[in-house]
C-alpha cells in the first residue's frame, strides 16, 4: 500500500513538473508557427509601420483585413499623400491603387508559391545563422511570446517579434541595426480576431475615375536553371562563408537580379546589360586595376563596375572589402 502511494505521489510530481515546462514555449517552434501562419489567420486591425532611413522616420498607418484563405487588404490612412491608397491581394495578384496619382500597379500575390518559398527559405537561414530566444510577454493585454533573433555569439538583438500565443500572429515587430539602433517597426492595434472580413473586400473593383495601369511582372528564374548556366554568381563563396545563400533569381529591366540573404541581411546582385547612370556624387575607387563606383547611405551600400563586357551592380548591407574581394574574384 505504502509503495503504491509513493508511486502515485511521484507520478503526480512528474506531471506537475512537466506541466510547468509545458508553459514555456519552444522559441523555434513559436517562430516556425508564426512564419507558417502568414495569410492563414482571419483578423482586422490597424497597422502602424515605421522605417528609418537617412535619419528620417517614415510612418504609415493603415487599416488591414486578412483572410485565412490567403487574402489581404490594406487601406492607407496616413500620411496624407498615402491616404486613400488601397492594396488588395486576392491570393493570385496584388492591386495597389493610388487614386492621387491615378495609378494602379498590378503585381504578383504575396501568397503565391514562389513568394512562400522565399519566405520559408528565409526562416531556414535565420535558424541556421542566428540565435533565437524567447520569453513570455504581454502586448495589448494578450499573452505573447517575445522572440529575439541575434547573431551567434552576440547579445545584440537584430529582430524582435511579439507573437500571439493563441493565433501565432506577429503583433509587433522591431528590427535593429548591428549597433542597436531601431531601424524599422510595426505593430497592430484594435485587433479583431472574431469578425471574419467579407469576401467582397478582397475583390478588385475598377473605380469610376481615370487611371492608368502598370504591371509589375515578377519573373523568377528557377535556381536549378541558373546553376546550370552560371555557377560563379550563384555560388559566391565569399558570401556563402558569411551564411548568405542565393534565395531567388529574377528578371529585372535590362538584366537579372540575384537575391542573397542570410535570413536577416539582404543583398541584391544585379547582372546587367548596361549599368545605370550614376549620380555625380558617387565615389570612384580603384582596386587591383578595376574601377568601381561606390556609395553608402544609411547602412545601404552600392557598388557598380564593369569587367570584360559584364556589368554588375550590388546593393545591400555589406562591407566594402568583401565586395572588393568579389570584384577581384569575378575575373
Amino acid at each position: 500500500m505504502k509503495r503504491f502511494l509513493i508511486l502515485v505521489f511521484i507520478l503526480i510530481l512528474i506531471l506537475e513538473i512537466s506541466s510547468v515546462f509545458a508553459e514555456e514555449k519552444n522559441p523555434v517552434e513559436v517562430l516556425s508557427s508564426a512564419w507558417e501562419s502568414e495569410g492563414r489567420i482571419n483578423f482586422i486591425a490597424t497597422e502602424t509601420n515605421g522605417m528609418y532611413m537617412g535619419g528620417r522616420l517614415n510612418i504609415t498607418v493603415s487599416k488591414v483585413f486578412a483572410l485565412a484563405t490567403g487574402k489581404f487588404r490594406r487601406e492607407y490612412l496616413f500620411p496624407s499623400f498615402l491616404a486613400g491608397d488601397l492594396l488588395i491581394d486576392d491570393g493570385h495578384s496584388s492591386y495597389y491603387y493610388q487614386p492621387g496619382r491615378g495609378l494602379l500597379t498590378v503585381g504578383p500575390s504575396l501568397y503565391d508559391p514562389q513568394h512562400r518559398d522565399i519566405h520559408r527559405k528565409l526562416l531556414e537561414l535565420i535558424m541556421k545563422n542566428y540565435d533565437i530566444s524567447g520569453q513570455p510577454d504581454k502586448f495589448l493585454g494578450r499573452d505573447v511570446t517575445k522572440i529575439c533573433i541575434s547573431p551567434k555569439n552576440s547579445k545584440n538583438i537584430l529582430l524582435a517579434l511579439w507573437i500571439d500565443n493563441q493565433t501565432y500572429l506577429i503583433l509587433k515587430r522591431e528590427r535593429y541595426s548591428p549597433d542597436g539602433k531601431l531601424q524599422e517597426y510595426s505593430f497592430y492595434t484594435d485587433i479583431d480576431f472574431t469578425t471574419i472580413p467579407n469576401e467582397r473586400l478582397f475583390v478588385w473593383i475598377k473605380p469610376r475615375r481615370d487611371f492608368r495601369t502598370v504591371e509589375r511582372r515578377e519573373k523568377f528564374i528557377p535556381l536549378e536553371e541558373t546553376k546550370r548556366k552560371d555557377t560563379t554568381l550563384i555560388n559566391l563563396s565569399l558570401l556563402q562563408e558569411k551564411g548568405y545563400e542565393c534565395i531567388s533569381v529574377k528578371e529585372v529591366p535590362r538584366g537579372i537580379a540575384y537575391h542573397f540573404s542570410d535570413g536577416i541581411n539582404n543583398i541584391m546582385f544585379f547582372d546587367l546589360q548596361n549599368l545605370p547612370p550614376m549620380p555625380p556624387s558617387v565615389r570612384r575607387i580603384t582596386t587591383d586595376g578595376i574601377v568601381y563606383s561606390y556609395w553608402q547611405f544609411d547602412g545601404m551600400s552600392g557598388f557598380a563596375w564593369s569587367y570584360n563586357g559584364r556589368r554588375f551592380l550590388i546593393i545591400g548591407v555589406i562591407e566594402r572589402d568583401i565586395i572588393e574581394k568579389i570584384i577581384k574574384r569575378l575575373r
Partner: protein, 151 residues
C-alpha cells in the same frame, strides 16, 4: 512699470536673464496685469511646443563613415605632403600644393539617384518585406521618395 516696457522684457524674463530687481518688478506687475500674463503664457506655450519638434536620429553607420572620411582625408594630406617634399620648398612647389588641395574631389556621399538606379534600389528595399510577408507598398513609396533624382 508700464505694460509695453514689461512686454518687451518678458522674453528675457522667461529665460531668467534679467537682473533680480527687474524680475521682481515684473513678477509684481504680472500679478495684476492679465494682458501681460497672457503674453508670458504664449511664450511658455511656444517653449512647450518645441518639445514636439522632430528629432533626427543618426543612421547606423554614422560613426564608421566619419572614420572613413577622416582616414581618406589623412591619406590626401599625406599625399599632398609628399608632393610638397618631392617638388621642394620652392615657391612654385608651394603653389602647386595649394592648387592640388583646392581641386581634390570632395568626399560627399549623399543619396542622389538616377531614375533607373532608383528602380534597382527599390528592388532591394522590397526585400525587407520578405521577412514577415506583409505587403506595404506605400511605405516603400515614401522611403524611396528620399532618393532625389538628378538629371
Amino acid at each position: 512699470m508700464r505694460c509695453n516696457e514689461v512686454k518687451r522684457l518678458l522674453s528675457a524674463y522667461f529665460d531668467r536673464e534679467l537682473p533680480a530687481d527687474k524680475s521682481i518688478e515684473i513678477k509684481e506687475h504680472l500679478r495684476s496685469c492679465r494682458s501681460c500674463a497672457k503674453e508670458l503664457e504664449s511664450i511658455e506655450k511656444i517653449h512647450r511646443l518645441m518639445g514636439a519638434f522632430p528629432i533626427l536620429e543618426a543612421g547606423p553607420y554614422f560613426e564608421s563613415q566619419i572614420i572613413e572620411r577622416i582616414e581618406s582625408e589623412k591619406r590626401k594630406r599625406r599625399f599632398s605632403l609628399g608632393l610638397k617634399l618631392a617638388i621642394g620648398f620652392a615657391l612654385c612647389g608651394l603653389m602647386l600644393f595649394l592648387i592640388t588641395l583646392r581641386y581634390l574631389p570632395s568626399e560627399n556621399v549623399t543619396l542622389e539617384t538616377t531614375p533607373v538606379l532608383n528602380t534597382y534600389i527599390q528592388e532591394y528595399i522590397e526585400t525587407y518585406s520578405g521577412h514577415i510577408g506583409r505587403s506595404n507598398p506605400g511605405l516603400i513609396v515614401s522611403v524611396s521618395s528620399l532618393g532625389e533624382t538628378s538629371r
